[in-house]
Amino acid sequence: METNWAADNLQTIRTLMERSALYRRALAPIMIFAGTMGIAGGLTGALGQIQSNRGFVWLWLCTAIASLTGALFLVRRQALKDSEPFWSPPTRRVSEALLPAFFVGLITAVMILVSSAGTQSWEVQFFLVVFWCWLYGCAIHAAGFFMPRGVRWLGWIFIMTGCILLAIASVLKQGLENVPLHLLMGGIFGGLHFVYGVYLHFTEPKKNVA
């Protein structure tokens, strides 16, 4: 039919517009790095027996900053390798989408740091695990609108993990105090990133453009 090409052209235009607006740097090394950092953070907290609220916040704040710095370094290295700008429009859009939730997470961490000198509360730390899961899930879900589809799924997994943790805590009410929260953090943040990174390593295209 003579009009089929018109529909085909519209579809091609749509596909190309979506592809050019998406962030497409290789995510596998970034996810594997973030996962490794998360697992290392969990082990450090558990083996170092960091139990105070401040210690908990400091450890995970440092892990987050180290992961973020390393991720930016990997992105920059990929950009240099491909002779492309590091701060490309898709990179900017992804960063802007991540920023609000990251900012709230940081402010919460600072508030706990300021207000809980010398205290140790399992409830506060558990609240942080759940809250950070939600915030991080929302952050990467928002960024996922400018990234491959799987990232939004990962965002939902973090959000649902936070909900499940809260539901378990609400139902059980007691006996959870023995759950090692550092290992829980390491398992959630480190484990999920690591598994997703390994999955991407075997599935995502090797050529990347941001």
Binding site: M1, T3, L10, T12, I13, L16, R19, S83, K207
Partner: protein, 102 residues
């Protein structure tokens, strides 16, 4: 189907390669030559020819700069290019709608 509508399609944009370039640039403020080449899987020569044609038509602007001591060519749509692209899509849309059984 009104045959007039086919005559209104912009012939410069209608070519497959140039349509791909216009589509990619319509969704991004600007793209480098390398990004366009990789995204559209075109050869350097083919892409250069199409870019030149679009540039001569006033649909596309090309900026040359240096990044890390390496030349960087960036392309973006001009106002006229965005307008022509929007008109082209409108026409395609009309063609598809007119062809649909009522």
């Amino acid at each position: 189907m009104n045959p007039e509508i086919f005559l209104q399609l912009n012939r410069v944009i209608h070519e497959k390669g140039r349509l791909a370039i216009m589509s990619a640039l319509a969704a991004a403020p600007e793209l480098s030559f390398t990004e366009l080449r990789d995204l559209l899987a075109m050869t350097d020569g083919n892409l250069t020819t199409h870019i030149r044609t679009l540039q001569e038509e006033g649909f596309l602007s090309v900026a040359k700069s240096y990044q890390n001591n390496r030349p960087l060519t960036s392309c973006s749509l001009t106002v006229a290019g965005r307008k022509a692209f929007a008109q082209y899509i409108d026409l395609l849309d009309q063609i598809v709608r007119q062809a649909k059984p009522k």
